[in-house]
C-alpha cells in the first residue's frame, strides 16, 4: 500500500511541476481528448473577466452571508448623538502632544477636549457639529485665557479661566451661551461667592456650581429642565446632568431631584434604600441617575433601558462613579475599574491593564468613550472609536446595514429567480413540446406580461396587495411579484430549445419506448437545456436584484427599517447628502455595483462557455 501511495505522490508531484497536459502526453503520446463539460469549464475559467467576477462575487457573497453574524442588525436602533458620522476610527485618539502632560480631559459627544499642563486646549475625534460649526475651532479668547476648568456637552463646550470668566463655544444657536443676568453680574465683578468648583455640560444646557452651594444653570429651556427649586440653593455639593434633566447631591449627604418636573418624573423616584445613608458620589447617564453611599453601595434609578440597573459584583466598595450615555464606569477602593450598562460599542470592555491597576490618576467618561489617565501621564481608552463606514441620518451603523441589506437583496433576488425559472420552465416546456393551442395561449400571455412596463406594474402590485401586509410578508410578496413578472424570458428560451430538441432522435427513441410525454419533456429534454438555463438564471439574478433595489429605492419594495441595498439609497438624491454625507450613498452604491457587475461578468462568461458560437461575437 505504501508503495502505491508513493507512486501516486510522485505522479501528483510530477503533475504539479509539469502540468497535467505534459503528463498525459507522456503516457499517451497524443493530444488530449476533452469531454464537452471540460471544454466548457476550461473556456469558462480561462477568461480573466470570469475569474475577476467569480472572485468578486464570492467575496461579496461571503461578506453578506457571514457578516450578519458579526454585525447583528437591530431594527429599532437609532441614536441622535451619532447621526451622520463620517467613516473614521479616531474618536478617542488623544493627540500625541498631550501624551504625558494631560491636565484634564472632557469627553463630549463624538469628540474630546483635553488640557495640557501648559494650559493649551486640544480637541480630537469628530468635532464637526454642523457644516459651519466645528468644536476644533476653539475661539481665540479661550486659547489665550488661562483655562482651569472645562466641560464638553453634546454640541457645545464650556470653559472657565483663572479670572473666573466663563466661555462657551461650539453650537451657541440654541441659547447654549446665554448666561443668566445673575451670572453676568458675578463674572463682571467676581466675589467670594463666585467660586466655581464644578462645570458640567450636556445636551444644549450647562451647569456651574460654586463652593457656597449655589447652582447656576443656563442653556435651552425648551429641551432641558433648567429651572431650580429655591429651597435647595446654597446647599448643593455636586450636580450630575442627564440629557435633559439634572439632580444634585446636597451638602448633608442626601440626594435630591431639584428640577421643576418633580413628581411623575422617573428621576424623582429616589430609591428608598438610600434613605438614612450618606451619599458620597453621584453620576448620571442619559436617562438614569446613580448614587454611591459612603459604604460603597450603588443605587441606580430612572429609565434604565440598557441594563444600567443590573449592577455587577463589586470586589470592593465603590469609590467614584462616572456616567456615559448608556453605561456607568466605577472606580473601586482597591483601584479596580468596573463598567456596566449597554456594551453595544464596547464601552464596558475595560482593558486588562486598566481593570486592575492601582495607578489610575483620573477617569473621564463621555458619550460612549472612556479615558483613564494613569499616574505616568499616559491615557488608556476604551469604548466607541468610530464607525468604519460611518452612520446614516438616524445614527445607525452603515456597515451593519450594508451587510444585512445585502443579505435581504440577495435572498430576494435568488428566490424570485427561482420562482421565475420554475414558471418559465413549466410553461415553456408545455408550450414547446405540445405546441398548438397551448403554445399559442402561453406565448400570447408571455407577450403581454413581457410587454408591460415592469417597474410601474411591480409598483402597483406591491402597493395594492402589500398595503395590508407586515414587512416580512411584504418581502415575500416582492419575491413573488418579481418572479411572476419576469418569467417570460426563460419561458421563451425553454420553448425555443425544446422546439429544436423535440425533433432529435433520442426523443423519438423515448417516444418509441412508450415513455409518458411529461416525463420526456422534463426528464429527457430538459437536462439538455439546463446549461442555457443556468446562463439565463445567472443574468436574471442580477436583473432581479436590480429591480428589487429600484423598487425599494422608490419606496414600493421592502419597507424601512429593514435594510436593502435599494432602500439604503432612498433619500440620497439631494445635494446635502450627496455632498456632505457622501459615505451614505457611495458605500452602498459601490458594493451593489460591484456585486451586479461581477454577476454579469460570470453570466457572460458562462454564456460564452456554454454556447461557443456566441463567444465568436
Amino acid at each position: 500500500m505504501a508503495k502505491k501511495k508513493g507512486f501516486f505522490l510522485t505522479r501528483w508531484l510530477k503533475r504539479g511541476v509539469l502540468g497535467s497536459d505534459q503528463e498525459v502526453r507522456d503516457i499517451m503520446q497524443e493530444e488530449q481528448v476533452q469531454t464537452p463539460f471540460r471544454t466548457m469549464a476550461k473556456n469558462f475559467f480561462g477568461k480573466v473577466t470570469v475569474r475577476i467576477g467569480l472572485c468578486g462575487f464570492i467575496l461579496v457573497f461571503l461578506f453578506v452571508l457571514i457578516g450578519p453574524y458579526f454585525w447583528v442588525l437591530d431594527l429599532s436602533e437609532q441614536d441622535s448623538t451619532l447621526i451622520n458620522l463620517p467613516p473614521s476610527q479616531s474618536m478617542m485618539s488623544v493627540p500625541k502632544e498631550l501624551n504625558g502632560k494631560i491636565a484634564d480631559i472632557a469627553a463630549g459627544r463624538t469628540y474630546g477636549v483635553g488640557l495640557d499642563t501648559d494650559g493649551k486646549l486640544h480637541t480630537w475625534g469628530y468635532t464637526r457639529i454642523t457644516e459651519k460649526i466645528n468644536m476644533a475651532d476653539i475661539p481665540e479668547e479661550v486659547q489665550k485665557a488661562d483655562i482651569v476648568m472645562f466641560a464638553a456637552g453634546e454640541d457645545h463646550a464650556v470653559a472657565m479661566d483663572a479670572d473666573k470668566q466663563l466661555y462657551v463655544w461650539g453650537n451657541t444657536r440654541l441659547q447654549q451661551g446665554n448666561f443668566s443676568s445673575d451670572m453676568k453680574k458675578k463674572m463682571k465683578s467676581p466675589d467670594e461667592t463666585w467660586d466655581i468648583i464644578q462645570l458640567e455640560a450636556s445636551n444644549q444646557f450647562s451647569a456651574a456650581l460654586s463652593s457656597d452651594g449655589t447652582l447656576y444653570l443656563w442653556g435651552n429651556p425648551n429641551v432641558a429642565d433648567i429651572k431650580m427649586r429655591s429651597q435647595y440653593q446654597g446647599n448643593i455639593a455636586k450636580v450630575a446632568l442627564t440629557s435633559n434633566e439634572y439632580f444634585c447631591l446636597l451638602k448633608d449627604g442626601t440626594v435630591a431631584y431639584t428640577g421643576y418636573k418633580d413628581k411623575g418624573s422617573a428621576f424623582a423616584a429616589i430609591p428608598e434604600g438610600l434613605q438614612g445613608k450618606t451619599v458620597a458620589d453621584i453620576a448620571s447617564t442619559s436617562s438614569t441617575m446613580a448614587a454611591v453611599t459612603s459604604e460603597g453601595e450603588v443605587f441606580v434609578w430612572g429609565n434604565a433601558k440598557n441594563g444600567e440597573k443590573t449592577l455587577p459584583e463589586f470586589a470592593a466598595p465603590v469609590k467614584k462613579l462616572y456616567g456615559g450615555r448608556f453605561h456607568y464606569t466605577a472606580l473601586l477602593e482597591n483601584g479596580d475599574v468596573v463598567c456596566w450598562g449597554s456594551n453595544k460599542y464596547h464601552q464596558c470592555d475595560v482593558p486588562a491593564n486598566v481593570a486592575h491597576n492601582a495607578n489610575i490618576r483620573a477617569i473621564y467618561t463621555g458619550n460612549f468613550q472612556n479615558y483613564a489617565v494613569m499616574a505616568d501621564g499616559t491615557v488608556q481608552t476604551w469604548g466607541l472609536k468610530g464607525f468604519v463606514l460611518g452612520t446614516d441620518g438616524l445614527g445607525r451603523d452603515l456597515l451593519t446595514r450594508i451587510v444585512n441589506g445585502g443579505r435581504v437583496t440577495m435572498t430576494v433576488g435568488a428566490i424570485s429567480v427561482i420562482i421565475a425559472t420554475i414558471i418559465g420552465v413549466v410553461l415553456g416546456g408545455v408550450a414547446g413540446y405540445f405546441g398548438g393551442k397551448a403554445d399559442l395561449l402561453i406565448m400570447r400571455i408571455a407577450e403581454v406580461v413581457g410587454g408591460l412596463p415592469f417597474i410601474p406594474f411591480a409598483m402597483i402590485l406591491s402597493a395594492v396587495i402589500g398595503s395590508r401586509l407586515d414587512p416580512t410578508q411584504k418581502m415575500y410578496l416582492i419575491m413573488v411579484v418579481l418572479g411572476v413578472l419576469s418569467w417570460t424570458g426563460t419561458c421563451r428560451l425553454v420553448r425555443a430549445q425544446i422546439l429544436a430538441q423535440r425533433e432529435m432522435e433520442y426523443v423519438t427513441a423515448a417516444k418509441a419506448m412508450g415513455i409518458k410525454e411529461g416525463v420526456i419533456v422534463f426528464r429527457h429534454i430538459l437536462p439538455n437545456v439546463i446549461s442555457l438555463l443556468l446562463v439565463s438564471m445567472t443574468l436574471d439574478f442580477a436583473t432581479c436584484m436590480l429591480t428589487e433595489s429600484s423598487l425599494s429605492y422608490l419606496g414600493f419594495g421592502i419597507p424601512l427599517p429593514t435594510p436593502t441595498w435599494g432602500n439604503l439609497l432612498t433619500g440620497a438624491n439631494n445635494s446635502i447628502v450627496i455632498q456632505q454625507y457622501w459615505w451614505q450613498w457611495v458605500f452602498p452604491a459601490a458594493i451593489f455595483g460591484v456585486c451586479t457587475i461581477c454577476i454579469n461578468m460570470i453570466g457572460d462568461g458562462l454564456r460564452d462557455a456554454v454556447d461557443p458560437k456566441s463567444a465568436e461575437r
Binding site: T49, R444, E447, V448, G451, L452, P453, F454, I455, P456, F457, M459, I460, L461, A463, V464, I465, S467, A542, L546, S549, S550, Y553, L554, G555, F556, G566, L569, A572, N573, N574, S575, I578, Q579, W582, W585, A589, F592, G593, T596, I597, I599, N600, M601, D604, S614, E616, R617
Partner: protein, 339 residues
C-alpha cells in the same frame, strides 16, 4: 398586410379589455368607500339613522353595490350609470383625481407631454451614440477599443439607473455645478416669452436625459454589436468583399441592413422600457412627469389617477408590440407577417 393589422388590432382590444378588467378588480381589493367620503362633512349635522339612510341612498346612486363586471363596464363607459349617463374611458372621462381635485385628464396632460418629450429626446440621443458605436465595435472586433467598450457597457447595464444618477448629480451638480440638481424650472423665474421657458426647461432636463442615455448605452450597444457581428459573418459579406466593393458599402449597405432587424425589435422594446424606467429618473430628479405623478398617486392612494396612467402604459406596450411586428415586415421583406 391590412388584414393582418386589423387582426392584430382586434387582438389588442381583447387583451386590453382583459388587462383593464384585471387591473380594475385589483383596485377593488382596496377597501375604500367613496360614499362615506362624500358624506363625511355632513356627518356631524345628521342623526345616526338619517345618516344611514342618506348613506345607503348615495351608495345606490353611485352604484357601489352593483356586481364588479357592471362597475367595470361603467368605468369603461360601456354601461349606463345609475343616473342614466354613459361616461367612462371610451368617452374620454378618465375619472377624478382625489389628490389634485381635478379631472384626471387635466392632471395628466402636462406630465405626459413632459415624459414623452424627455423619452424621445433620450431615445434619439442614445440611438445616435449606440448604433455607430456598436457598428464600430463589431467591425473592429477584438481590438482594444472593442474590449474597453465591452467593459464600459457592462458597467452601464449592471449599475442601476439611480446610482448612475447619483454619481452624475455628484459630478455635475455638486462638484462642477453645471446643471441644476432637480426640478423642471428655475424657482421664482418669470419668463418673458415661451422660448425662454423652453430653454430653461431644456437646461433642467439635460442631466436626466444624459443619465437616461448613459444607462441605456450598455444594453443597446451590445445588441447592435452582436447582431452586426452575426451579419458580418454571413457568406454574402464575403461575396460582396470579393466583388471588390468598398468596405463602407459592405458594412453600411450589406451588413447593417440585415443587422437592423433584430435591432429594431430591441429598440422598440427598449423604448417601451424607458417609460417604466422614467419612473425612477423622474423621481430622482423630481421632474414633473408621468412617472412622478404615478408615484405620487400610488403613495396617496389616488387610484383613479393611477389606473388611468396604468392604462396608458398598457396601451403603449400593446401598440408597441404591434409596431414591432409591422416594422419587421417593412424592414425585412422576407418576413411575411400576414401569414
Amino acid at each position: 398586410m391590412g388584414k393582418y393589422i386589423l387582426k392584430r388590432c382586434g387582438y389588442i382590444v381583447v387583451v386590453f379589455l382583459i388587462l383593464s378588467f384585471l387591473m380594475y378588480s385589483l383596485y377593488n381589493l382596496i377597501p375604500t368607500d367613496p360614499a362615506r367620503q362624500e358624506l363625511e362633512p355632513q356627518r356631524k349635522a345628521l342623526k345616526a339613522d338619517e345618516y344611514q339612510v342618506l348613506y345607503q341612498q348615495l351608495r345606490k346612486q353611485m352604484g357601489l353595490d352593483d356586481p364588479l363586471p357592471v362597475r367595470y363596464l361603467r368605468w369603461m363607459g360601456l354601461w349606463a350609470k345609475p343616473n342614466g349617463e354613459v361616461s367612462g374611458m371610451v368617452e374620454g372621462n378618465f375619472g377624478y383625481s382625489n389628490l389634485y381635485k381635478r379631472n384626471v385628464v387635466e392632471v395628466i396632460k402636462t406630465p405626459m407631454a413632459n415624459t414623452i418629450f424627455i423619452n424621445i429626446f433620450s431615445t434619439i440621443a442614445s440611438l445616435g451614440i449606440t448604433i455607430p458605436l456598436g457598428i464600430y465595435c463589431a467591425v473592429h472586433k477584438g481590438k482594444r477599443f472593442d474590449s474597453v467598450t465591452q467593459v464600459v457597457t457592462m458597467l452601464g447595464y449592471s449599475i442601476p439607473v439611480y446610482i448612475i444618477a447619483l454619481i452624475f448629480m455628484f459630478l455635475f451638480c455638486v462638484l462642477w455645478r453645471v446643471f441644476p440638481i432637480m426640478g423642471m424650472k428655475t424657482p421664482g423665474m418669470e419668463y418673458q416669452n415661451g422660448w425662454q421657458e423652453f430653454v430653461d426647461m431644456l437646461y433642467h432636463i439635460a442631466l436626466p436625459v444624459i443619465v437616461m442615455t448613459f444607462s441605456s448605452l450598455g444594453g443597446m450597444t451590445r445588441y447592435v454589436r452582436s447582431s452586426m457581428i452575426d451579419a458580418l459573418s454571413m457568406d454574402y459579406i464575403r461575396t460582396a468583399r470579393a466583388k471588390g466593393l468598398k468596405e463602407k458599402v459592405v458594412i453600411y449597405s450589406h451588413a447593417w441592413r440585415n443587422a437592423l432587424l433584430p435591432v429594431i425589435t430591441s429598440i422598440l422594446g427598449w423604448f417601451l422600457g424607458i417609460f417604466g424606467g422614467s419612473v425612477i429618473i423622474e423621481n430622482t430628479f423630481s421632474l414633473n412627469g408621468m412617472g412622478k405623478l404615478y408615484w405620487q398617486g400610488l403613495n396617496n392612494l389616488d387610484f383613479e389617477l393611477v389606473l388611468a396612467i396604468q392604462m396608458f402604459y398598457s396601451v403603449v406596450s400593446l401598440v408597441g408590440s404591434l409596431l414591432i411586428d409591422i416594422s419587421y415586415g417593412l424592414v425585412d421583406p422576407r418576413v411575411r407577417v400576414d401569414k
